[in-house]
Amino acid sequence: MTLFEKIMALYPSLTQQDFLTVITLQNDSNGAGDYIKEWNHPTLVKPTQEQLK
Protein backbone atom coordinates (compact mmCIF):
# COMPACT_ATOMS: atom_id res chain seq x y z
CA MET A 1 0.00 0.00 0.00
CA THR A 2 1.42 3.37 -0.97
CA LEU A 3 1.66 6.37 1.33
CA PHE A 4 -1.15 8.01 -0.62
CA GLU A 5 -3.37 4.96 -0.14
CA LYS A 6 -2.59 4.79 3.58
CA ILE A 7 -3.55 8.43 4.07
CA MET A 8 -6.73 8.01 2.07
CA ALA A 9 -7.62 4.99 4.18
CA LEU A 10 -7.15 7.09 7.32
CA TYR A 11 -9.01 10.09 5.97
CA PRO A 12 -11.48 9.01 3.25
CA SER A 13 -12.87 12.53 3.07
CA LEU A 14 -9.69 13.85 1.48
CA THR A 15 -9.88 14.73 -2.18
CA GLN A 16 -7.34 14.87 -4.96
CA GLN A 17 -7.47 18.64 -4.72
CA ASP A 18 -6.29 18.44 -1.11
CA PHE A 19 -3.11 16.78 -2.36
CA LEU A 20 -2.52 19.68 -4.71
CA THR A 21 -3.19 22.43 -2.20
CA VAL A 22 -2.85 21.65 1.51
CA ILE A 23 -1.04 18.30 1.52
CA THR A 24 2.12 17.56 -0.41
CA LEU A 25 3.40 14.03 -0.82
CA GLN A 26 6.79 13.85 -2.46
CA ASN A 27 9.33 11.39 -3.80
CA ASP A 28 12.80 12.72 -4.61
CA SER A 29 13.77 9.61 -6.57
CA ASN A 30 16.71 9.03 -4.26
CA GLY A 31 15.64 5.68 -2.92
CA ALA A 32 14.04 7.07 0.23
CA GLY A 33 10.51 6.59 -1.08
CA ASP A 34 7.38 8.69 -0.63
CA TYR A 35 7.08 11.08 2.30
CA ILE A 36 4.88 13.89 3.58
CA LYS A 37 6.58 17.10 2.49
CA GLU A 38 3.89 19.45 3.79
CA TRP A 39 0.71 19.00 5.77
CA ASN A 40 -1.39 22.15 6.07
CA HIS A 41 -4.88 20.70 6.19
CA PRO A 42 -7.12 23.03 8.21
CA THR A 43 -8.97 20.32 10.17
CA LEU A 44 -7.24 16.95 9.78
CA VAL A 45 -4.09 16.35 11.77
CA LYS A 46 -0.97 14.96 10.17
CA PRO A 47 -0.87 11.18 10.55
CA THR A 48 1.73 9.76 12.88
CA GLN A 49 4.37 7.31 11.75
CA GLU A 50 2.55 4.69 13.81
CA GLN A 51 -0.64 5.27 11.84
CA LEU A 52 1.22 5.00 8.58
CA LYS A 53 2.88 1.67 9.32
Partner: protein
Protein backbone atom coordinates in the same frame (compact mmCIF):
# COMPACT_ATOMS: atom_id res chain seq x y z
CA UNK B 1 30.01 60.52 -39.22
CA UNK B 2 32.48 57.93 -40.34
CA UNK B 3 32.59 54.19 -40.80
CA UNK B 4 34.31 51.68 -38.57
CA UNK B 5 36.34 49.27 -40.65
CA UNK B 6 37.62 45.99 -39.22
CA UNK B 7 40.27 44.52 -41.46
CA UNK B 8 40.68 40.78 -41.65
CA UNK B 9 43.97 39.19 -40.62
CA UNK B 10 44.98 38.42 -44.18
CA UNK B 11 42.25 39.77 -46.41
CA UNK B 12 38.78 41.19 -46.45
CA UNK B 13 37.20 43.76 -44.17
CA UNK B 14 34.01 44.33 -42.19
CA UNK B 15 32.58 47.82 -42.31
CA UNK B 16 30.14 49.13 -39.71
CA UNK B 17 28.19 52.06 -41.10
CA UNK B 18 26.06 54.09 -38.68
CA UNK B 19 22.76 55.49 -39.86
CA UNK B 20 22.10 59.19 -39.77
CA UNK B 21 18.49 58.70 -38.70
CA UNK B 22 19.05 57.59 -35.10
CA UNK B 23 21.76 57.48 -32.48
CA UNK B 24 22.72 54.02 -31.32
CA UNK B 25 25.09 53.44 -28.45
CA UNK B 26 26.81 50.10 -28.09
CA UNK B 27 28.11 49.60 -24.57
CA UNK B 28 30.87 47.09 -24.13
CA UNK B 29 31.60 45.30 -20.85
CA UNK B 30 34.07 46.71 -18.42
CA UNK B 31 37.57 45.33 -18.40
CA UNK B 32 36.56 42.40 -16.23
CA UNK B 33 33.26 41.71 -17.97
CA UNK B 34 32.29 38.77 -20.15
CA UNK B 35 30.80 38.98 -23.60
CA UNK B 36 28.04 36.38 -23.83
CA UNK B 37 28.30 34.28 -26.92
CA UNK B 38 26.91 30.88 -27.70
CA UNK B 39 30.03 29.23 -26.38
CA UNK B 40 29.53 30.35 -22.78
CA UNK B 41 25.74 30.23 -22.53
CA UNK B 42 24.84 26.90 -20.90
CA UNK B 43 22.32 24.59 -22.51
CA UNK B 44 21.41 20.97 -21.87
CA UNK B 45 18.90 18.33 -22.84
CA UNK B 46 18.42 15.02 -21.04
CA UNK B 47 15.86 12.24 -21.16
CA UNK B 48 14.84 9.21 -19.18
CA UNK B 49 15.95 6.05 -20.93
CA UNK B 50 14.04 3.69 -18.65
CA UNK B 51 10.47 3.42 -17.46
CA UNK B 52 9.82 5.20 -14.15
CA UNK B 53 6.97 4.12 -11.91
CA UNK B 54 5.03 6.94 -10.26
CA UNK B 55 2.76 6.82 -7.21
CA UNK B 56 -0.59 8.51 -7.65
CA UNK B 57 -0.99 11.84 -5.88
CA UNK B 58 2.74 12.20 -5.16
CA UNK B 59 5.13 14.78 -6.56
CA UNK B 60 7.94 12.68 -7.98
CA UNK B 61 11.24 13.81 -9.42
CA UNK B 62 11.68 12.74 -13.03
CA UNK B 63 14.96 10.90 -13.43
CA UNK B 64 16.26 12.09 -16.78
CA UNK B 65 19.43 10.04 -16.73
CA UNK B 66 20.75 10.31 -20.26
CA UNK B 67 22.18 13.46 -21.79
CA UNK B 68 21.67 14.49 -25.36
CA UNK B 69 23.95 17.46 -24.80
CA UNK B 70 25.22 19.49 -21.86
CA UNK B 71 27.38 22.31 -23.13
CA UNK B 72 28.69 23.44 -19.75
CA UNK B 73 28.43 20.22 -17.72
CA UNK B 74 25.76 21.78 -15.50
CA UNK B 75 23.25 18.93 -15.46
CA UNK B 76 23.60 16.06 -12.98
CA UNK B 77 22.19 12.98 -14.73
CA UNK B 78 23.44 10.45 -12.18
CA UNK B 79 22.42 11.42 -8.66
CA UNK B 80 20.19 14.43 -8.21
CA UNK B 81 18.86 14.95 -11.74
CA UNK B 82 19.17 18.70 -11.45
CA UNK B 83 20.41 21.61 -13.49
CA UNK B 84 22.80 23.94 -11.64
CA UNK B 85 23.99 26.53 -14.14
CA UNK B 86 27.32 28.14 -13.35
CA UNK B 87 26.56 31.31 -15.29
CA UNK B 88 24.08 33.76 -13.76
CA UNK B 89 21.16 34.60 -15.98
CA UNK B 90 17.69 33.82 -17.25
CA UNK B 91 17.01 30.30 -18.45
CA UNK B 92 14.30 28.88 -20.64
CA UNK B 93 13.29 25.59 -19.01
CA UNK B 94 11.32 22.94 -20.89
CA UNK B 95 9.99 19.56 -19.87
CA UNK B 96 7.79 16.78 -21.14
CA UNK B 97 6.50 13.56 -19.62
CA UNK B 98 4.82 10.66 -21.33
CA UNK B 99 2.42 8.85 -19.03
CA UNK B 100 1.22 5.33 -19.55
CA UNK B 101 -1.39 3.72 -17.37
CA UNK B 102 -3.18 0.48 -17.99
CA UNK B 103 -6.37 2.40 -17.34
CA UNK B 104 -7.73 5.00 -15.00
CA UNK B 105 -5.30 7.83 -15.65
CA UNK B 106 -7.06 11.13 -14.86
CA UNK B 107 -4.57 13.93 -14.29
CA UNK B 108 -1.00 14.98 -15.02
CA UNK B 109 1.15 18.01 -14.22
CA UNK B 110 4.82 18.91 -14.54
CA UNK B 111 6.29 21.13 -11.83
CA UNK B 112 9.67 22.83 -11.97
CA UNK B 113 11.31 23.03 -8.57
CA UNK B 114 13.82 25.74 -7.75
CA UNK B 115 16.18 25.01 -4.88
CA UNK B 116 14.00 22.17 -3.65
CA UNK B 117 10.65 24.00 -3.65
CA UNK B 118 7.79 24.09 -6.13
CA UNK B 119 8.34 27.07 -8.37
CA UNK B 120 6.50 26.84 -11.71
CA UNK B 121 3.61 24.59 -12.69
CA UNK B 122 2.96 23.41 -16.22
CA UNK B 123 -0.43 22.75 -17.70
CA UNK B 124 -2.81 20.85 -15.41
CA UNK B 125 -4.99 18.60 -17.51
CA UNK B 126 -7.68 16.38 -16.16
CA UNK B 127 -9.18 13.71 -18.36
CA UNK B 128 -11.59 10.87 -18.21
CA UNK B 129 -10.15 7.48 -17.45
CA UNK B 130 -7.68 7.03 -20.26
CA UNK B 131 -4.45 5.15 -20.88
CA UNK B 132 -2.20 8.17 -20.61
CA UNK B 133 -0.87 11.12 -22.52
CA UNK B 134 1.97 13.56 -22.92
CA UNK B 135 2.32 16.73 -20.86
CA UNK B 136 4.61 19.69 -21.25
CA UNK B 137 5.82 22.63 -19.23
CA UNK B 138 7.81 25.70 -20.13
CA UNK B 139 9.07 28.58 -18.03
CA UNK B 140 11.66 31.32 -17.81
CA UNK B 141 13.61 31.11 -14.55
CA UNK B 142 16.45 33.17 -13.14
CA UNK B 143 19.44 31.31 -11.71
CA UNK B 144 22.24 33.01 -9.81
CA UNK B 145 25.02 30.98 -11.41
CA UNK B 146 26.22 29.38 -8.21
CA UNK B 147 23.69 27.88 -5.78
CA UNK B 148 20.39 27.96 -7.68
CA UNK B 149 19.26 24.69 -9.19
CA UNK B 150 16.23 23.45 -11.12
CA UNK B 151 14.60 20.02 -11.01
CA UNK B 152 11.60 18.56 -12.79
CA UNK B 153 8.85 16.78 -10.86
CA UNK B 154 5.58 15.32 -12.04
CA UNK B 155 2.24 14.86 -10.36
CA UNK B 156 0.03 12.12 -11.74
CA UNK B 157 -3.34 10.86 -10.64
CA UNK B 158 -4.71 7.50 -11.61
CA UNK B 159 -5.41 3.97 -10.56
CA UNK B 160 -3.26 0.96 -11.18
CA UNK B 161 0.37 1.22 -12.21
CA UNK B 162 1.40 4.64 -13.49
CA UNK B 163 4.51 4.76 -15.62
CA UNK B 164 6.54 7.40 -17.34
CA UNK B 165 7.12 5.30 -20.40
CA UNK B 166 10.26 5.80 -22.36
CA UNK B 167 10.73 6.02 -26.06
CA UNK B 168 14.25 7.31 -26.11
CA UNK B 169 14.80 11.05 -26.24
CA UNK B 170 11.35 11.72 -27.61
CA UNK B 171 9.19 11.15 -24.54
CA UNK B 172 10.38 12.19 -21.09
CA UNK B 173 12.84 15.02 -21.34
CA UNK B 174 14.16 17.99 -19.40
CA UNK B 175 15.93 20.91 -21.09
CA UNK B 176 17.29 24.35 -20.36
CA UNK B 177 19.05 27.08 -22.26
CA UNK B 178 20.32 30.48 -21.23
CA UNK B 179 18.49 33.27 -23.00
CA UNK B 180 20.32 36.23 -21.49
CA UNK B 181 22.90 36.94 -18.83
CA UNK B 182 22.05 38.52 -15.50
Amino acid sequence: MGNLVLNGATSGATTLTPTDAVTITATFPSLGGTVMVSGNMPAFSAYNNANQTITTGTYTKVTCNTKEFDTNSNYDNATNYRFTPTVAGYYQINGQISIFAGSGFTRGIIVFYKNGSQFKFGNDITTGNVNGGRYIASSLIYCNGSTDYIEMYCYIVGSGTLILSTNGAADNFFQASMVRAA
